[in-house]
Symmetry: C2
Subunit: 312 residues, 2 copies
């Protein structure tokens, strides 16, 4: 069963406070108001979110980054973290030391203090959960739901590092740089949080694939989305529609997807340039419900998985 189904069916009914947003967003609000405190939690499992052969130092870094990505995308700066670690008995202590070193260096790099946690054993796979708080730069987190028809749709950085990087990390293609980007996701500059707080009507991080995430953002905003595939910045050669579709649906990119009102686009682009945040317009919200995909002027039929996803 897919995560979204699990959450909706069994756990969303338990989310009774307004800050929970019905579990339909990426973060929850701990304390409302100016400088609101938000919180997110993400788990990574060996064999699912990283490879058994990945150096554990990179596992620690990835754990930090997949969570920081959620906080930045909501227009907030990361603040404090709790770690829950299930560490298999068969893993060497040197690997634990490397995990802690990678975790600690990235926590420090993002200005995060570890404030609590729990360690235990009992599985064959490493299971690591970080709960991360953030401090909103604006009046609250920028939700998925604030977009409306006519808003420009933008993405930071380049898409495809996660998907193509996984193939590289598995040795299926040769690309050490992308393998590294799979193991340690490259987040946009932290200044993206300010851009989101000041200019985004809706935002989220791209973790499940650009197109699927765009469809989620549009659905949460009660609108559709039109995306021109040829305008998406990819990490490497993507010469055919099929290759572009592959990279736009592969996930694990940890870039920021955001919508912006037409009147704000000029300032957004100017500030992104000044802050050194790569930002590309890939389409717009509107054009009727659902995701409308084109490539070089031709309509593209959505993959089945995506046609399903965007109804979710």
């Amino acid at each position: 069963m897919r995560e979204f189904d699990l959450i909706r069916r069994y756990f969303a009914p338990l989310a009774t406070s307004p800050g929970a947003a019905g579990l339909g967003d990426d973060v929850a609000v701990l304390e409302a108001g100016e400088g609101a405190r938000i919180v997110t939690t993400d788990t990574i499992v060996e064999g699912v979110h990283f490879l058994s052969a990945d150096p554990t130092e990179t596992v620690g870094r990835k754990l930090v980054r997949v969570n920081v990505s959620d906080i930045l995308a909501k227009g907030a700066r990361p603040h404090e973290a709790l770690l829950s670690l299930v560490w298999p008995a068969g893993r060497a202590e040197s690997e634990l030391e490397a995990f802690a070193r990678g975790l600690g260096e990235d926590l420090a790099a993002f200005g995060v203090s570890l404030i609590g946690g729990d360690t235990t054993g009992g599985t064959d796979a490493i299971v690591a959960t970080l709960t991360l708080t953030g401090t909103c730069l604006g009046a609250g987190p920028v939700r998925r739901s604030g977009g409306r028809s006519g808003d420009g749709l933008f993405v930071t950085g380049a898409i495809g590092a996660g998907g193509r990087g996984l193939r590289a990390a598995r040795g299926e293609i040769e690309d050490d740089d992308l393998a590294g980007a799979y193991r340690v996701p490259r987040l946009p500059a932290v200044e993206v949080a300010g851009l989101v707080a000041r200019h985004a009507s809706a935002a989220m991080d791209v973790s499940d694939g650009l197109l699927g995430d765009a469809a989620k953002l549009a659905a949460a905003s009660g609108t559709g989305a039109a995306i021109a595939l040829e305008s998406v910045p990819f990490v490497g050669a993507a010469d055919t529609t099929g290759e572009r579709l592959d990279m736009a649906t592969a996930g694990d990119d940890y870039q920021v997807l955001l919508a912006c009102r037409p009147e704000g686009v000029g300032a957004l682009i100017e500030e992104a340039g000044a802050a050194g945040v790569g930002l590309t317009r890939i389409g717009e919200l509107g054009s009727g419900p659902g995701l409308h995909l084109s490539d070089r002027g031709q309509p593209v039929t959505l993959p089945d998985s995506l046609a399903f996803e965007h109804q979710g």
Copy 2:
């Protein structure tokens, strides 16, 4: 390696904010001051913290209770929770539904709203992590470290339900009541939070065994502890020193251990009685460093594990 060693060696250096208390306490402070907001996280793993054959409804309840226990013991009321769930592919959806039902009913019973989470797969064992916030009834959490020589040492409820209950749940002894108490820990009445906030100089929940936890509280307070084993309330027959030692070191009790200044003891006992919180004096802090154990007037040599533990 033991959890305490892991935390001290690798993760405590990452805890740089004052609210983290160097990862040496049960909770961290998210927001200081009156009505301070605190947070804890605890993970339960199939085969370690619950049995594979346990009904998943009770697994959901246990997850809530092992975390609520930490919050109550610090003089706080539970508030909001984030769930991270790793659910094996081989488990039936009806078991997931039962897990969510048990979780939801206990969250509601303790007044907690679920505000976020993450679900994934990839392990053979169920791994469930709850991160739980709480609101302090006093100016902040009651730490392990506030005790001093001469303080009375008290425990709520009865000790041994976890250890003897595990044997019952495994079918080694016949006791459905205790098997139930292993699967769904019986916490003290929530009014214990107020008692702790008003009267305790130091407090913690009893999760790793009464004697070991008492040694930890004493060490954090910079003192020793003297405990009279025959005064400890046990869940069932404990006719010999060996049986009493077994139950006092077995863990998984989720009662509250607290210290109280001599001048506060009268009010503590009176209010506990009025609130319906079972409370028993088992000894006192002081008598030189380390744990001093006696039984019916005779000194008791500490088990090796404990003699080691209290130096931690």
